[in-house]
């Protein structure tokens, strides 16, 4: 009998549509897999068994009634715990939201439900999406299925790990500085950050509003595209959502064609600080694209190197304001409410107890950067850098159709290795941050295992705003050629759990 957890989302949906398997059986197989491996991975914070099996049952009923099923109907999915899901715990990996059950669905969740996906549960993450290792979760770290002593990336380590560990064929992540792409790279999976405004942020608990974007995590490029097309599109509840047709991502993933595509290798994203094995696999991937008919040139984006410091002013500034609402007054944790202490004291005690160290660090940096007298020097300057980076992209996209770089400078590091060195941790997002600052689309695709440590390496592809389909052209072409070369998908080389 087929292992239902090893199928792609597209295959699973087809089997359900054809009546070869029931959606309930598929969901149950994934719950069984989770029960078997999640004590070692810790990808999930909460399972919604009842809700998921109910949704699966409805899919089976629809099929029985002869209703037409969507392209992902009945496919299980893991949802990053930063998206509001009605009546299901939503913690953002923080103690301060322990016990909160949102009274509403995020637009993305609504769209997943409308498309009959089966939401298995909520995945672990760095607290409020601040981190690159999932070690900042108040509920303990998630482990990388390739080596459980290593980090699965972050902040969306839970989503990436759940997909890599066959706990779900699909997951939803969010990406503020690389939180979808960096975990995808270090777990050997596909992760896409759509164009800012391409997917609604309504119901995404904000870390940094001008940078956050929701996107798909999957094991194959086509699966990611199918999920992308379910969640994308204009939402009147998000003013920053783009009112334009969704780019043809599924068609691009099916075409898998890079002939004539102009690919620019970003000169500044490589060299010093990059693991040799990572650079080697990256160069091989670029060579493969050339073989497949792409025209590869080197491109300079001189301001990308200032992306990291600009990001670490803009993101904390916005987060210091976004996280102000966690004050014990209306929901979540409340500490010290003894009927004697003032509201102010209860707020302060709650925030002291409820937020972790990294969150506090960023709130303080942000509050400082926005304070009167410092605003121009910090927030103002950072916004100028942002404009310069956007111009770098614009200039580069005059010459090429997509830009490429390694997704991360290194493969997955060991749990605990960088917890005391925030700067080293921040550098994990060096290559991914420019796309958040400029709002363009980008993605990470598996491009092999680093020869020095045998861990996955990701190819980072960046496309212009609303040209998300180009990511899928590159990703799908690379995937087809690589799988042919390796003889099997990369994940099959991961150790059995």
């Amino acid at each position: 009998m087929t292992d239902l957890t090893k199928l792609t989302a597209a295959e699973t949906a087809r089997l359900i549509r054809d009546g070869e398997v029931s959606a309930v059986d598929v969901a149950q197989a994934h719950f069984d897999r989770i029960a078997k491996v999640d004590d070692r991975i810790h990808a999930f914070l909460h399972l919604d068994t009842e809700g998921a099996l109910g949704a699966a049952r409805r899919v089976d009923e629809k099929r029985a009634a002869g209703e037409e099923l969507g392209p992902l109907a009945g496919v299980p999915l893991a949802l990053k715990d930063v998206l509001a899901m009605k009546d299901v715990p939503t913690t953002c990996g923080s103690k301060i939201l322990e016990g909160w059950r949102p009274p509403y669905d995020a637009t993305v969740v609504q769209r997943l439900r409308d498309a009959d996906l089966v939401i298995l549960g909520k995945t672990n993450m760095d607290e409020f999406a601040m981190g690159s290792s999932t070690e900042n979760s108040a509920y303990g770290p998630t482990r990388n299925p390739w080596d459980t002593d290593r980090i699965p990336g972050g902040s969306g380590g839970g989503s990436a790990a759940s997909v890599a560990a066959y706990q779900a064929p699909l997951a939803i992540g969010t990406d503020t500085g690389g939180s979808i792409r960096q975990p995808a790279a270090v777990t050997g999976t596909v992760g896409v950050k759509p164009t800012y405004g391409g997917v609604s942020r309504y119901g995404l608990v904000a870390f940094s509003s001008s940078l956050d974007q929701v996107g798909p995590c999957a094991r194959t490029v086509l699966d990611a595209a199918l999920l992308h097309s379910v969640i994308a599109g204009h939402d009147p509840f998000d003013s920053t959502s783009i009112d334009q047709p969704v780019p043809p991502v599924v068609e691009a993933a099916r075409a898998a064609d890079v002939r004539g595509l102009r690919v620019g290798v970003v000169k500044e994203l490589g060299g010093e600080g990059f693991q040799p094995g990572v650079e080697q696999r990256f160069n091989e991937a670029v060579a493969l694209l050339t073989e497949l008919g792409a025209e590869v040139v080197e491109v300079s984006c001189p301001h990308f190197v200032y992306g990291l410091p600009a990001y670490y002013l803009i993101a904390p500034s916005e987060c210091s304001s976004n996280l102000a609402r966690f004050d014990a007054m209306r929901y979540g944790l409340r500490v010290g409410d003894d009927g004697i202490r003032s509201a102010e004291e209860v707020m302060s005690l709650t925030r002291e107890a409820g937020f972790g160290a990294e969150v506090k660090r960023r709130i303080m940096i942000g509050a400082y950067a926005l304070s009167s007298g410092y605003y121009e020097a910090y927030y103002g300057q950072a916004q100028k850098v942002r404009t310069l980076i956007t111009r770098d992209f614009a200039r580069a996209f005059e010459q090429v159709d997509v830009l490429v770089s390694p997704t991360t400078p290194t493969t997955a590091f060991r749990i605990g290795e960088r917890v005391d060195d925030p700067l080293a941790m921040y550098k994990a997002d060096l290559c991914t941050i420019p796309s958040n600052l400029a709002g363009n689309a980008s993605a990470s695709f598996p491009c092999g295992l680093s020869p020095d440590d045998g861990l996955p390496v990701g190819l980072h592809v960046m496309a212009p705003v609303m040209a998300d389909d180009r990511l899928y052209r590159v990703g799908a072409a690379l995937e087809a050629a690589s799988v042919q070369r390796w003889g099997h998908p990369l994940l099959e080389e991961a150790p059995e759990l």
Partner: protein, 504 residues
Amino acid sequence: MSTPAATVPDLLDYDEVLERFDPVLGLEVHVELNTLTKMFCGCPTEFGAPPNSQVCPICLGMPGSLPVVNGKAVESAIRIGLALGCDIAEWCRFARKNYFYPDMPKNFQISQYDEPIAISGEVELEVEGQTFKIGIERAHMEEDTGKSTHVGVTGRIHGAEYSIVDYNRAGIPLIEIVTKPIEGTGALAPQVARAYVAHLRDLMRALDVSDVRMEQGSLRCDANVSLRPLGETAYGLRTETKNVNSLRSVERAVRYEMCRQGALLAAGGKVMQETRHWHEDTGITTPGRSKEQAEDYRYFPEPDLVPVAPSRKWVEELGTTLPEPPAQHRKRLFEAWGFTEMEFRDVIGAGALLLVEATVAAGATPAAARKWWLGELARRAKETEVELDALSITPAQVAEIQALVDAGKINDKLAREVFDGVLAGEGSPEEVVAARGLAVVSDDSALGAAVDRAIEANPDVAEKIRGGKVAAAGALIGAVMKEMRGQADAGRVRELILERLGAE
């Protein structure tokens, strides 16, 4: 934080203040718009609903929720800006004003900071025959906060046993209108402040953008007051008296601050730059936050909203929807009503211009409308310490009462009782007349019998009238009215008397 001392500060005599100092004012007025839905969500805005019944994830600031700008509120903001003579920005943004307070669901308020929708306007006021030009610095859009009620001894957040918050008001659209420093008002400073707020109130009403009910908080004023020695050009340190919520209080609070600051300065002391609270009951202000304690609001552009860029065409279209400018409006009414200048000024001074206008529109003569609003109703407003327009009677009802008088169904004396009834919420004028049995006796047979008895009882008077001395009828009318306990139409009584005695 130390508790403010309960001592009442010294006040300098008002005339002495003016002998030595020149007041400078700055007024910040918040107007709650009357849009059907809130600024950033679809919740209704109706006043007086049960607490926390008009809320949703957005106006409660639930994690993940996002604001969407109410286009109708932007439209109102532009019309207000235009009516204040402001330039409308071609491009403006919202900003976050960050501070912690339990009635603020997000612990930041979405407001506008350095990019307001309307800038640089001017309004002209007339106070006691003098014209004052008030410069408008800006008008910007923002959202209202929830409303805290502090339960306990003091009614203030400090010392409260507990506090409860109603978020119905959170997210209601507000327009904040800020003046430039108002100089050169001298002794008239308090009246100018009042007249300015009254002017805004009338303007908002004419624009139909707000209910402007100060007692319900839909128009609120913060008054900045400073004094400088006569002849000095630099401004003195100012205080900002918050939430002054009636026209009368605006005038009183400004005057109080002038006298309080005057006493401090005259004694060689210094005015603390601080916010102050106005106490309606005692008529004093007490200290709030000092400049040192002032919050750093850490403003930055609201990343969840896109810039507002009203097209010039739209702004132009909205310009054609503006009501008549107040000065022109007054001129037109003055000419139409035929009042003396003094009478007309009294109407304006009493804040009754629009009320009289509406009453006339409902069918009353200007004289009758003026008579009731400046007489009977002004007296009642004063007794109950509310604004004239806060009385629970509409111009249409006043016109209806006058129509009853004109039709001879009631007389002026009974009309006052009808006002009592309507103000007490007993229903429409007709209903009050019926319920209280106030109709004058118009049954000619009953009236005729009373007239006959009066003629019989006063043969001398009757003889005089028969002889052509019509003026003598007054005595008989009085007798009839007395017998009818006032419930008769004096005009009809006179007619009956003259008819019976064959006089013209």
